[in-house]
Symmetry: C2
């Protein structure tokens, strides 16, 4: 497994692969890897000859009061997991390589970035769209993979790559869950034992919503009940728990696929999750 710390090193390796027409997949990550990330790596490896994982904790997607400084960084553990997964190249640039001092460009997907997560984290998707645009243009992979756990992020990235005409196939990977249903996330490490016991309740509530809405129940009523249930069970604040159009994330319209999406706080940890409404 090769490790590149700079754009130039990474590009030299990819250029070499391209000489023999090898296809390349990229899984952009912020490290602290779990089975969710590794499932994306495997999905990429099935589709391409060479597999790249980038590890970069992107300061541009954290607000000043958020957890940039405390976000888990476990490079040696991550490298071992990626070696085990037969990744060909880890691309792990530092902040100055991605954002030199005179960096002033931002990429914004209007509309969808302002909904849901965008209401609570106004700069978040600008930070995500900018860094992913940069990583895609840097690597120019054939396939790039992102987890469905960050469902709105996947929608924003798909739109950005399409709008900027980046010739890449953006693929989503199914959310990987702990045995009790909690969606795997690097931020689960922040949970106390008591919070960890409560955490799967979020998945239970969105699963219940999906089933009830699929059976014809009133969306507002089931979402209100789920929200109440979460609050009573110990969730501190429910940022949103909603059913939206699965593509636009706007209010659902008859006959189109729907998605349940939720964000809620357990103590100082913000959890998000989502699930499809069965057709």
């Amino acid at each position: 497994m090769e490790v590149a710390r700079s754009i130039a090193e990474m590009r030299a390796i990819v250029k070499d692969w391209r000489k023999s027409d090898q296809r390349v997949s990229l899984v952009p990550t912020m490290g602290a890897l779990h089975e969710g990330h590794l499932s994306l790596v495997h999905k990429g490896k099935e589709r391409t000859d060479k597999s790249i994982v980038s590890i970069f904790v992107n300061p541009a997607q954290f607000a000043p009061h958020e957890d940039f400084n405390t976000y888990p960084r476990e490079e040696e553990r991550d490298f071992a997991a990626l070696r085990h997964a037969n990744v060909d190249l880890v691309y792990a640039p530092d902040v100055k390589e991605i954002y030199p001092e005179n960096h002033h460009t931002k990429v914004e997907v209007q509309g969808i970035s302002q909904l849901l997560e965008g209401q609570f984290r106004p700069q978040f998707f600008i930070g995500v769209a900018t860094v992913v645009a940069k990583l895609l243009v840097q690597v120019m992979p054939d396939v790039a993979l992102f987890g469905e756990k960050d469902y709105q992020q996947l929608c924003v990235i798909r739109a950005m790559a399409r709008d900027l005409d980046i010739p890449v196939d953006v693929l989503g990977g199914e959310t990987i869950r702990e045995s009790d249903g909690l969606a795997m996330s690097s931020r689960n490490a922040y949970l106390t034992n008591a919070e960890r016991t409560l955490a799967p309740r979020l998945y239970q509530e969105i699963t219940a919503i999906a089933e009830q809405v699929s059976a014809g129940a009133d969306i507002d009523q089931v979402c209100a009940a789920a929200s109440k249930g979460l609050s009573e069970s110990g969730f501190k604040a429910i940022d949103y728990i909603v059913v939206k159009d699965a593509d636009t994330l706007e209010d659902p319209t008859p006959g189109r696929p729907m998605r349940v999406l939720a964000a809620a706080w357990l103590g100082r940890t913000r959890l998000i999750d989502n699930i499809a409404v069965p057709a």
Copy 2:
């Protein structure tokens, strides 16, 4: 000379060139070509094996009250000029190819986009940065060329390409002038005969400023005198006539290169021009 109307057609042609490792230059234009554009074509041809000119009147860089609908469109004349210049490929997509209905992404270079032109045309550089990012990612040329006549635009595009890590050499081309000094511009076609006679005065004033500042004169004084001279000679409004740092376009600091930049109205036509202050 080949003509491509779609991204896919254009990419197929470029891909074919790339098989034999040919280097490619791109001159993005809005058509209504003049000697300024053609000088960029020639500069590109000196540096690469294949030469592309794009023609696309970009709606995103016009404000609603501006001249998008009346901007000169002369495709047959342009094609003839490009054929004569031995251009290999004209890429002339229509608006829907570049901005399909669901297009929502914007690229913004913060800081420099807000100065000078950005004060008078607030969305202009977002429109420019977005379309040029798209064109560069679509074509992926080795060299892209832009006229120094739109000096701030050149600075914005350089910053955008660098920040988004687009592997392209962005080159500026010297402003080409009519025999009386007026900078060539597609918008000069809007001038009445009387205005056309007055127009070179803008170049005369910025040249005088450059010489005087180079000789040690006070910047504010010479700019104020030039502004007064333009007004008295018949220019309707002076948006700005300033001396700035040649790279940042911020106020000049001792020992760094400077540029004189001006924008002023003759009747209903807005002229811009700029010139280096001799070191």
